[in-house]
Symmetry: C2
Subunit: 337 residues, 2 copies
């Protein structure tokens, strides 16, 4: 196989593809190495990998849907990794299996600053009940979130019952992650105004809980002050469809205080929204969203895979570069309008 | 017409559509009200507006390409509006016409925090040679950038020779704006570490100039210190395809110092990259990028406009909601795979 069984990730250069059942069986047997290989397969942009990836997803589908899906965001510096490490360890210590998927929308040009730092989440990374995986970015048709969604499903099939999707910053990816998750957690810190933290109102409105990290030592009074401020701010937002009142809590990922409480909050949220029907309603909406995304991906693929279209597009690109046609007219010509 | 000629923007409720030539002629006559109406038309998600919008763009195309296209980014709190106001006023005082288009990727849920504050860019907003327009966000097939690109072209046809595209934050939209512009300007402030400013390495790598705003009064020494730090950081980045050495400069938008210098920097950039061919090469790349985006939009449109497909999709959505089929299988079925 050319794979070192001790590595969490396969060595890219020696990666050979296996049959779909190899991946499916491995995932269902909760083999982390095979899970990791399967995610690499899904993220592959090689055309010949696509069909196989689809088969793997399809085989895993019946075993999905049973996890609590949590989105976590906050600008760099807020302590996301330390928090996820503490939170993840608490979850595994309670007998859960935790998968962490990280999305970095800006890595298109610089590639993977997330998890690039090898010291991040040391404890969690070596926990047998945890699985950490940075999400490949890139320009694929379906976009980052599509691949993350599919990775999430594989993790569920591999028995992870808490899936954490981490995003950095304040961009579009938060909206997409909201579409993949049941619960959306916003990490903040005291001291820096939210202006400076770059957190937009839109992101705050999405949050199901606001957690002020680094509430420790000298900063504690400031953290409490920030807590009051955010509580007031929350009141000004329109009520949520889930009827959930967004809690604003303190924690210290460093000192591991306030971490268990986050698990309780998420449990309360699940209970409340399961009873009032929102949980199911939200997942249904996400299913339709996923369907549309997937369908768009397939429609475009069908078009670009046709060799007639490929030739035509190549010629039109040349015509654009030699200024014989505008990109606009060329696009219309490419689809025979 | 039901339009108040004194308003920069048409009243939505009373908006009636005109012929394509009405919009095209108005734009070429540099009529700001009609330009604004045409952008509203382009941003419209009403199906019946699409064809008309395409005709308007097509009619304007021969009159585009002659502006300097500038992307400006920086996290909230960095003073983007004040800077753009000072920069824009300087440009118009030198006889230029300036259009400002603003993209807010997070406004999907909260709608338009950009320019919502009525006190923003007061002076520029009342300048006869300036045009300010927030970009509609939303879930359209082509995405935010597609509409912004088309708005940019209309502004060029209306005689604006400097187009500024403003983005907020650190998300995906910066990559897209990079694809629309000739020059990418990153605003920073001293005092807050770049970690806290939420600026990712990827964004810094994209910048053609870094400008440290609020370099004034007591903060000046700090600003100079930040300048040195960023200059050092810049050296660690790989050299740019444009062969351009990224300058790190100070300015105070408030005191209007360092503003003229930005114009000179952009002029130097244009000169250098015109001579070494990068300017043209970059625009060519953008043309191909635009072609692909537009083509994808049209391919999807063709599919969804077919009534057979609409019926099938509706039925499949129902089947998803009643758990008879997975979104994944439904997508494959929808395209007859």
């Amino acid at each position: 196989m050319g794979l070192d069984r001790n590595l969490q990730r396969p060595v890219r250069l020696t990666l050979k593809r296996q049959s779909a059942s190899y991946y499916i069986d491995g995932i269902l047997k909760q083999d982390r190495v095979i899970l990791s290989q399967a995610i690499t397969l899904i993220e592959s942009t090689r055309k010949e990998d696509y069909q196989l990836a689809q088969e793997v997803i399809e085989g895993c589908l019946p075993h999905t849907g049973n996890s609590t899906r949590i989105g976590i965001t906050g600008v760099p510096g807020v302590g996301k990794s330390t928090f996820i490490e503490a939170f993840g360890k608490e979850l595994t210590s309670q007998g859960n299996k935790v998968a962490v998927l990280a999305i970095d929308p800006t890595s298109q040009s610089s590639r993977g600053s997330i998890l690039g730092d090898k010291t991040r989440m040391n404890e969690l990374a070596t926990d047998a009940n945890a699985f950490i995986r940075p999400s490949a970015s890139g320009n694929t048709l379906g976009g980052v979130a599509q691949k993350t969604q599919e990775s999430l499903l594989l993790c569920e099939a591999a028995g992870y019952n808490y899936i954490i999707i981490e995003t950095v910053g304040v961009g579009q990816s938060e909206t997409e992650v909201k579409n993949l998750t049941d619960f959306f957690l916003l990490l903040m810190i005291a001291g820096a105004g939210d202006e400076l933290q770059g957190i937009k109102r839109g992101i705050m409105e999405m949050a199901d809980a606001i957690l002020i990290n680094k509430a420790e030592g000298d900063i504690l009074p400031l953290a409490k002050q920030a807590q009051r401020a955010y509580k007031n701010a929350i009141h000004l937002f329109p009520p949520k469809d889930s009827d959930w009142i967004v809690p604003v809590e303190l924690c210290s990922a460093l000192n591991k205080t306030g971490i268990k409480e986050v698990i309780s909050i998420i449990e309360s949220y699940k209970n409340k929204t399961t009873i009032n029907g929102y949980f199911e309603e939200n997942r249904n909406k996400q299913q339709i969203h996923w369907f549309t995304k997937k369908l768009n991906e397939l429609i475009l693929q069908d078009f670009y895979n046709e060799s007639n279209n490929q030739d035509r597009i190549e010629k039109l690109k040349q015509a654009i570069l030699s200024k014989q046609i505008s990109p606009f007219d060329a696009a219309n010509k490419a689809i025979d309008r």
